[in-house]
């Protein structure tokens, strides 16, 4: 859910929209925001499944320290989505 009005941060300023693709779905995101923020805004919370026990994982620290949020971005695995900014045409997949 995007915070459009905030008592301290004010109104969300106008931002350029870019399109990213996640497993067939085309999603709108704001230029410059991290992938994790865009996915969260669209209600996507499972970013990957663990290798051995296939458990769902999402965001944890949100500042690039814990590597919980890694996904395959444009074919490159282990990309930390909380610190990687969206780009128009980016392809994102859950990693297994």
């Amino acid at each position: 859910m995007r915070i459009l009005e905030h008592p301290i941060l004010g109104k969300m300023p106008p931002r350029k929209v870019v399109k990213i693709e996640m497993e067939g779905r085309v999603l709108e995101a704001f230029e410059g925001e991290p992938i994790a923020a865009a996915l969260t805004a669209h209600g996507i919370c499972v970013f990957r499944y663990t290798r051995v026990r296939k458990e769902p994982r999402g965001i944890s620290c949100a500042i690039g320290q814990c590597t919980d949020c890694v996904m395959v971005v444009n074919g490159i695995p282990n990309t930390r989505t909380c610190v990687t900014r969206v780009e128009d045409g980016m392809k994102i997949q859950r990693q297994e």
């Binding site: 459009l4 994982r57 965001i59 500042i63 909380c82």
Partner: protein
């Protein structure tokens, strides 16, 4: 290979303060490296107003303090390298960097490690489910990225971070169903606690997190009452229907770089765990390597600014830009600025800091 006089790893309040003090004393080639696209460290998500005196920039919001300090850095001619990770410190004060897909290195006469801290977790059943975030994590999502990862939140931990973030969650439009704390009393300042109790958020002390339930994300959390020995009392479970569990259970210093250079470490639980020993001048057991801020022991942003400044002053002295007397004068000032945050309920910090200073005497780099 490029050489700096002073290299600062981490552009948060500690790092920026260190660089600013050194620059003001006349140190010439100073660089700040930060892995983020903006300077400010944890300040960039702090929408609340700070306490303290003028030297702590009290009355200002963290986000504003961050931009003011960043502006000061630029104004003083400090080289600021953003989106740059320092991934190693090698013998001979060699700093290894990673920026835009390339690895490089440079040397510096003095290095300040101001790398901050990482959030702790509680490993109860279900703790890895999507929807379980650290308090800092949720704060980043809502205050920096303007996205709420959930709508119904259980906050675990009633220290200042837990209380402040709960309030900020309410400001962002989420519902905080409760704040729990394993201790029998609220950990943070009364002023922060009353802000949320006024808005009908219950603070349940003597409660611990038992388990988190959900399939693909958090669906509910179960808490349990604990006795005076922190043991769970069976039959006192309470279930909350939430989609998010926020863990605000302390921080641990990120001290890997100090470890890599062979600094002597000490385990100080009151300050967050393992950290490098350091003198009153914030110098570690390895000559030329300094530490400040949460990376040297968990306190808060205001103390980070002071310890960073103390390190900057010491570096300027070591490089010959300040006389011993002048440096002592300045250091006394900054050390006084630490007092309000190390007294009364936080007096344990003073004792803990003294332990770190005692233990550095007579030690040398441990990697030989």
């Amino acid at each position: 290979m490029e050489t700096y006089e002073f290299a600062v790893v981490g552009g948060g309040p500690a790092g920026m303060s260190g660089a600013i003090e050194a620059a003001k004393a006349g140190v010439q080639k100073i660089a700040i490296f930060d892995e983020n696209p903006t300077l400010g460290g944890q300040l960039v998500k702090q929408t609340h107003k700070f306490f303290g005196g003028r030297e702590h920039r009290a009355g200002k919001r963290g986000i504003d303090i961050a931009s003011a300090m960043a502006k000061e850095c630029h104004g003083l001619g400090i080289d600021v390298m953003k989106d740059t990770v320092v991934w190693g410190i090698f013998k001979g004060n060699t700093v290894a960097l990673y920026n835009e897909g390339k690895a490089q290195r440079l040397t510096a006469k003095a290095i300040l490690l101001a790398t901050g801290a990482s959030e702790n977790n509680i490993a109860c059943p279900g703790w890895t489910l999507p929807g379980v975030l650290g308090a800092g994590g949720i704060q980043t999502m809502m205050n920096v990225h303007r996205v709420l990862p959930g709508n119904r939140i259980l906050m675990v931990g009633s220290g200042n971070v837990g209380l402040i973030v709960s309030y900020q969650l309410l400001q962002a439009g989420a519902k905080v169903v409760a704040v729990i704390d394993i201790l029998p009393r609220i950990g943070g300042y009364g002023v922060h606690a009353s802000k949320i109790t006024r808005l009908s958020v219950p603070i349940l002390t003597s409660h611990s997190l038992k388990e988190i339930i959900g399939k693909d994300r958090v669906e509910a959390a179960v808490i349990i009452k604990v006795d005076s020995k922190n043991k769970p009392i069976p039959g006192t479970e309470q279930r909350f229907d939430v989609d998010t569990v926020c863990l605000s259970v302390g921080l641990s210093p990120l001290a890997e770089l100090a470890w890599m250079c062979g600094c002597k470490f000490l385990y100080v639980p009151e300050l967050g765990g393992w950290m490098p020993c350091r003198s009153e001048k914030m110098e570690t057991s390895v000559p030329g390597i300094y530490v400040a801020g949460d990376g040297g022991g968990i306190e808060e942003a205001s103390t980070a600014m002071m310890t960073g400044a103390i390190a900057g002053i010491a570096v300027a002295e070591s490089l010959g830009y300040l006389t011993k007397e002048r440096s002592e004068e300045l250091r006394k000032e900054k050390t006084k600025g630490l007092d309000p945050f190390r007294c009364k309920d936080f007096g344990f910090r003073r004792v803990a800091n003294e332990k770190l200073i005692e233990n550095i005497i007579g030690s040398k780099g441990v990697r030989e």
